[in-house]
Each structure stands twice: as structure tokens, then as C-alpha cells.
Symmetry: C2
Subunit: 433 residues, 2 copies
Amino acid sequence: MDVELSVAELHGALDDPALNSMNFLNEVANHYPDAISLAAGRPCEDFFDLDALHENLRRFCAYLADDLGYSPQQVRRAVFQYGRTKGIIHELIASNLQLDEGIAIDPESVVVTVGCQEAMFLVLRALRASERDVLLAVSPTYVGLTGAARLVDLPVRPVATGPAGVDLDDLVAVIRRERAAGRRPRACYVMPDFANPSGLSMDVPTRRELLRIARDEDILLLEDNPYGLFHTEADRLPTLKAMDEWRRVVYLGSFAKTVLPGARVGYVLADQRVAATDGSVGLFADQLSKIKSMLTVNTSAIAQAVVGGRLLEHNCSLAKANIREREIYTGNLTRLLDGLADRFPHPANGSARVTWTVPAGGFFVVLTVPFPVDDALLERSARDYGVLWTPMSHFYEQTAPVPALRLSCSVERGERIDTGLDRLADLINDQLV
Amino acid sequence: MDVELSVAELHGALDDPALNSMNFLNEVANHYPDAISLAAGRPCEDFFDLDALHENLRRFCAYLADDLGYSPQQVRRAVFQYGRTKGIIHELIASNLQLDEGIAIDPESVVVTVGCQEAMFLVLRALRASERDVLLAVSPTYVGLTGAARLVDLPVRPVATGPAGVDLDDLVAVIRRERAAGRRPRACYVMPDFANPSGLSMDVPTRRELLRIARDEDILLLEDNPYGLFHTEADRLPTLKAMDEWRRVVYLGSFAKTVLPGARVGYVLADQRVAATDGSVGLFADQLSKIKSMLTVNTSAIAQAVVGGRLLEHNCSLAKANIREREIYTGNLTRLLDGLADRFPHPANGSARVTWTVPAGGFFVVLTVPFPVDDALLERSARDYGVLWTPMSHFYEQTAPVPALRLSCSVERGERIDTGLDRLADLINDQLV
């Protein structure tokens, strides 16, 4: 058959496991639509409401008119015309960060993006200046970060996780090893709260020490926080950004889980000061905005209006807006953890063969088993057992099978979680025979 | 002052004129809001209508339910949840291309993007595989294309325009010169209908010959067509894609001018066959989709729904949907061209000192003057004369002043166009003294 192109002649990322991983996982899910999904990190769909969509659009337009004093023509222009590259809901985002995270910011340091994924891409594109540059990431790592790094030819160096969410000694060792090899570590990507995929969180002393290392070693921290509001315990820990005295933290914000994924609206808060070649000093956000202008021009104003309307509905507190969602997710997580304890009781003495992380919130639990877990096993699980999950190998730089799998508890509920775990236990027990 | 970063340590594109050009032009426009704008290529705002936004959303949801048989839950999921990377309005786009352009396509070869800008980025990212790769572009070139190329470190080689919209001899010469120097020309970017900024169109024999050269020289053609529907003459010429027997054309589609810019919805039609390393053959669209999954995940379903609803309103014909807009734009263009002829009459004998292109449609006219036109002159024009336009130097690889400026006739109307031209004539006559 005649072909016009070959993958070998296209950008290397296209033949990379990181870019094919998402495709493969989606294909399995589509092929077995009746399987119970402990795989997807999609948010719960209970409160999706078309009337609320229209209401939120109206509420945002009313805010432009009543609070910001826009004329009817200016309102229509804001929603329909080309707009500000950095976005039009930056002031609402600033209010949200003040209320929910105790972070006081200049709204000018926010770039509203097409989901958090574009935010990651903008930052990585800016930081990758030469072949010497490398990115560090706590491993296992969210595959979207790895994929974005591939698109800008930025190598990702894994940093060990450890029980506190990041192994700080390993972090320093990796930075020094890279420097000794002539490379330039630019930043370390971290998810301090209920990380995807590990589910682990960093305690406060670890956060403080991480910030100190970033300052001393002159690297940035890319803090990704999509799950922070879904905590099972009464109190939340402060974000890195809230503790960021030395402007080392670039904060990546997502509304996919706290408002809705279909809007594709996220943001990056980048208040770092950047010296231009002419000696003037500006915000890192303005550099990211220049990249955005050549990538997506601006984030859909209609989509921003929907998210803005939802923020306004709850006076900019997403913690308040997500009271019902938080209850559901924490209930699901407790049910999942209790269900694992029931099905894989730890022996009174002797070591357990199946172990798991016990997160204090978020969507994910990692189950470690005494056999390699690969894509073929996932396909068998879907076909013969009717349950989906994610092989942990997808979250590592090396694609060799890892004896672990990720379970998600965001989509399935109640007895479906129990049934999913029954099926998973059958699979695991059959493997253990 | 302490800084955390310096531009010198960030990606080279950030210090590039192409990325700063848009910023500069926006700044001048914002600084002189009362100046008459013959600069912006923004679409006319007469028909922006908030009620129509809600109606289009409802119409698209009704289509999902009634035509595609979605359950209410499936409708909500389509609009609110993460979705298909390639988009959800691909079938409507296929109908539109059939109706308005006479192009029969497989909807699977469409990737819906965050505006045409993301479509350009996806294609350039895919095609830039090594340092040998170069992109060709008819010069002067749309600055968004140059900016996207900068983000993937892809050099842009100018091809002369000539009176037929592209100088085919120069195209072949550039391809061969690049090959002789060990480089690999991947594609040539063209806007065959009412190009931005030149306003020029290619005649049919030129289009046919361009396709033949693309086949013989084994390059792709990136056809960008944002203005095709706004023709002053009764008949339109066929797009390159409609004449594309050998699958050499990647078609870049925009809804910014035909529906609305605020949705940020465009698409790329990429039906080229691509051989994978394992020998299987797929669509170029699927490779682009993998890149998109790591850039923006998917295009906002809400924004797609708004565009989809508008397509459905007119049975997928944007030509029909834009009858009023076409009338306005062609009226504006005629008024602008007549106004130029009135103010700069050509001498009966002897050569004219001020000349301009006479496009058969679109938004843009290029005025050539007998003095260099730089950014400083634009600032003076805005401040002292109250009229905005775009220095042509922004559309060239070299940033040296060029004795020409671009006029746009999309936003201003009627007597405002006349007044803008009066002011421009004052500026030009003062320069000629």
C-alpha cells in the first residue's frame, strides 16, 4: 500500500511509550465497556447538569456587567471575540486561591490554560532551552507530564518517592549527578497531595525541606494539585505554593475535578521574576503567555465563562462547591481500602503478599503484588474477569513490567466497587496459584 | 532586584521577534483605544448574540439525543466529561466540507483543535523530527505560523509570492537548494485564498501546478483557509484539498471567522497514510491526535457544542450561515479599495508612488509606499493621526523595515473606513513631503 509518511520520519515522541500508553489504556476501556472500571481517573458524573451550564454562563455575564461594569457590547465581545492571552477569569482564580489555599497573589501572574495539560506544556517549553536541560520528576510519574516533556525533547530523570512522597536525599543526589554530567536540572515535578499514581502525600517537614533544597540548588518546583480538595481527614496540609517564600514554586491548577473536565480550563500561577535581555524584569507568567499565543491563542472564553460562573456561584470557594463530591470520593476511598483489607487479610505473622498504599484522600491506591503486571494481564483482566485497572509500568520511564497496579475510586460507587474488588481478588488469587 | 530566571536561560523562541510581534501590536492597540483600527483581523461583531449561544448549545445536545440516539446520561457525559481526543463534531465538519468545499472525507481523518493555531502546531511538531528539517512558507507569512515553527525549532524558509500568490519556480529552487545543503524540506505553508497578509489568491493553473510540484518533490502542502467564504466575486475557486488527488494537502480549518473566535475551535484534516514501525498503516490524523493528547487532552466539548450547534442551524453550510457576514466584508473591502483609489489617484503617465493589492475577497490589502515603514511610524500614526495598521515587516523572517503596510477591513465599517483612510492619507502625504 502506498503511504505518504512514515512514523520513523516524524517526531520521536510519536514512537514513544508515553504517548502510546494513554491510547492503549483507552482502547482496552472502549473494547470492554461493561467491565467495572477501577482504571479511569475521571470525576464522578452525578452532578453533571445542563441547566447549571446555562446558569453559569449567565452568572458570569452578569458579573461582567454588574461587578466589572461592562456594557452589553463589552460583555458580548468578552465572550465571543479573541481575548486576553492570559485569560479573563484570573481575578476569580486569585480569589479562589486566597480562600481555599491561603495564597495571596497578583492576578497578573496567572495564565488561564486549556486544562492543566497545556499549563505543563507551557512551563516545560519555556524551561527547555538547550540539550543540556533535564527535568526531574518524582517517580512513578503522571504520564501526562512525561508526554509533555517528550514533545519538547526534555529528558525526565526519576527521583525516588519514599514513604514521605519524595526521597529528598535522592533528589539532591540526582541534581548533583546531572550537574556533574554537564546537564542542567531546571525543575522537579511534584504532586504533594494524593499523588497520581501513588496516592501518597508529603508531610509538612518534607514540604519545607523540599522548598529549601529548591532554593539552595536553584531549581523550580512544579506543583500539580488536582486532588487537594478531596481529603479524608479534617484538615488539609498547606500547598508548597502557600509556603513558597523564595518563589521557587510554579503552581499548576486544574478545574477538571473541581468544576468539570469538558470545559478544558486550568491555569498556571508563575510569579517568578524574569530578567529580559534588555535588563527589564517581568513575570514568568508573561513569558508563558507568549508561548500560549502561538499554541492556542487564548483559552476559550465560553469555557472560561462556565468555570467563572461556577466559581461565582460559591463566592470563589471550590472547597464549598465540592462538599458533595468530597463526601462521595472519601466514601469511595474508604470503601476501597476496607474492601482490600477484607479480601487480602494480612497474616498475623509473616509478611503479606499483597500490600497497598493508604492515602488520606484523592482518587488513587497502588496495589503491590508478587508477580509482574503487564498490559497482557490487563487485557485478560478486562476480558475474563470484567475489571479494569492500570498497570503501574505506565508511570515509569522504563516500560518493563512492575509488580503493581493502580486502582482508582472516582467513577465507580458502592456495590460496584465491591464487585470490582471481588473480580480483582479472583484475578490475583488465580495468578498466585 | 533579585530575579529567579532570565530570558537568556529560557527557550530561544521567547526572545524571537515572531513571538514578540503580536504582543507589540496588541500593546499599541490597547494604548490607543480610540484610534480607528485598520490593523486587527478580528471578525465583525454585529451578530454576536448571547441567546444564540444558549440555543446552539441546546441544538447540539438535541442532535446528540435525537440524531445519534444518546441517552440523557450520554449527552451529559459528552458535554461535561473528558472526551474523544480527535473531537466530537468531526461528522458535522465532514458534512460541512462536503457541502461548502465539495471535499468528501472520512471523518476519522479530522482532529478538532483549539483553534487553527493548535492545528498548525500539531502538524509542525509531528513534521519536525530532526535538525535537518525545514518548513517552507510563502512570504510574507502569517505570524502565527512562524511563531508555531519557532516553538518546535523548525526553520522557516521563505518562498517568493509573485502575482499568482506563489512563485512556483522559486518554490522548486528553494526545495532543491535546501536538499543540496543536506536539509529536508517537509512542507510548504500556503493560504491560496485571500492570503494573510498579502490578500492575494492563486489561480487554478497555479494550484494544479503547486500540487504536482508537491507530489514530484515529495513535500506536503499545509493549506490554511480562514477567509475562503468571504469572496467578492460570484464564484469561488476550488481549494487545494478539493483538487488533492495524491494526498499531499493537510487542510487547516478555522471557525474563528465563520462561527466565532471565542469558542477557539478549529481543525486539521490529515488523511495521509502513515506507516508505523511495525508495518501497520494508519492516518496522519491519529499521529496528530497523540500529540494533542499531551498538549490539550481534547478540545473543550462545550466550545465544540457551540460550534456544532451553529453548523446544525444551517444544515452544516457555513456559506449559508455567513451570507450577512460575506455581504459586510465584501462591502468593506470595496469601500476600502475605492477609498484608496480616491485618495491616491494613479498619474495618467508615470509610475504611482503608492500602490496596493486588489484582492477578490478576504480581510486584507497591502499598501506599498516609497518609504520604510517601521514600528515607530505605527506608534506615531496611532498617537498623532489616530489610525492603526500593521507594518509589513512583521510578516517577514527579517525584521528590517519594509516599505509596505497591511490594512484590514473586517472590523471598521462605513464612514469609519473613510475617516481611517483620510488619516492614513495625511500620514502618508506628510511622510512624502
